[in-house]
Subunit: 230 residues, 2 copies
């Protein structure tokens, strides 16, 4: 059932054997936001065949990255959640996501944006230094989704759904505003948002979740210079 290994004793090769197959890392990404049911995963992963999702979940469970749970009282059903090993993947996922975000072009027709994806973007761009000592909470709303970002003494808790406590600032976007984290920040900077709370907290938000630069895309000159040294 498993794809052949890469034949080398190497951390990266091992990682790719475990989560390198199609859809696997995206499943882990969604689970890293919060435990999900099978159907939640199907909704968050547009186009994934049901048999592939089923297979991946079994493989990830086999590899001890994911565990099945019986959902608590109100929901009943099966919940998939990350194990500690799976949660340790988050730094790698954030790093890959940050890099990929810099390679994004304009959204293609049919591309969707999921709450989980934006949540991970928030975690990825979060700047711990800029947030040192800070305590504040935001709630981000659009017709499609509600997210929260709670910073407590410099530590971030970002997730899907409304803020656990009363948020200091509620940022509301119109339908087209929240097409992505990038669009979110653009809209925020242009004031195309509705605020409920101290407006100054919007500036704090922008400085704590800085939009990464992406300008190295077509720069070839540096490469040529470095290569000749090697």
């Amino acid at each position: 059932m498993k794809r052949r290994d890469f034949g080398q004793y190497c951390g990266l090769a091992r990682a790719l054997e475990l989560v390198g197959e199609r859809w696997a890392l995206l499943i882990v990404r969604d689970l890293s936001v919060q435990p999900q049911r099978y159907t939640d995963l199907l909704n968050g992963l547009p186009g994934i065949p049901t048999n592939v999702l089923s297979t991946r979940l079994k493989e990830l469970e086999e590899a001890n990255l994911v565990e099945r749970r019986i959902a608590p009282a109100p929901q009943r059903g099966v919940l998939y959640a990350l194990t500690p090993v799976g949660r340790d993947l988050e730094p790698a996922i954030l790093a890959l996501g940050l890099w990929g975000a810099g390679q994004l072009e304009e959204p293609r027709p049919g591309d969707i944006v999921t709450p989980g994806s934006v949540t991970l973007s928030l975690r990825g761009v979060f700047d711990p230094e800029a947030a040192a000592g800070l305590t504040a909470s935001w709630e981000i709303r659009s017709p499609d989704m509600v997210l929260h970002a709670v910073v407590t003494d410099g530590r971030l808790d970002a997730g899907v759904g409304p803020s656990p406590g009363r948020p200091d600032l509620v940022i509301t976007f119109d339908p087209d505003g929240l097409a992505s984290y990038r669009a979110l920040m653009r809209a925020a900077k242009c004031g195309l948002v509705e605020l409920d709370g101290p407006p100054a907290l919007l500036d704090t938000f922008i400085s704590v979740f800085p939009l990464p630069r992406n300008d190295t895309r077509n720069d070839t000159r540096t490469t040529a210079g470095l290569a000749e040294q090697n």
Copy 2:
């Protein structure tokens, strides 16, 4: 020719569309150590079919991660090298490699260890805090490979081949010693190495390239560091 996209506007999905196919990240890994020829890549990637290597290189070139070059005078031939965009993948590769290293079991029969893999391990476990202000150089030798690690004022240059200048300490392993970075450190701690230089520098080496803990840990430093680089 291209595999279908993931249908979502998300950095991680984009990254996987670009480097998520089989062997792609391993090719980038090898190129991140130094530019390589087609045959070098074949040797460093045991078992990769030639058509797959060829296809990947074209795709990576198309995506502006890799560029072809004519090799300089002595070698003549084609060289593949990373573009700046490709080099920006290194934090993600190191993060994935570190995680995967924690998931490694004992080497399977037939698993090989490549110089590129060990080099990336060195870069991945390098602790900038422990090395702050340090200047020292090591050369690591075994029958199969020679590596160098040069720390200049806390900044690391690790690569394949002998040290560019005269190394402060030469660490020589017997044939079985250098089965992996992990094996390297184990052998070093047990004194199963031959030293040429001040023995105290071996302790420095061990503290600057710490063997990561195998158990679950909350590593905030990695995440913070990665976020800052982008």
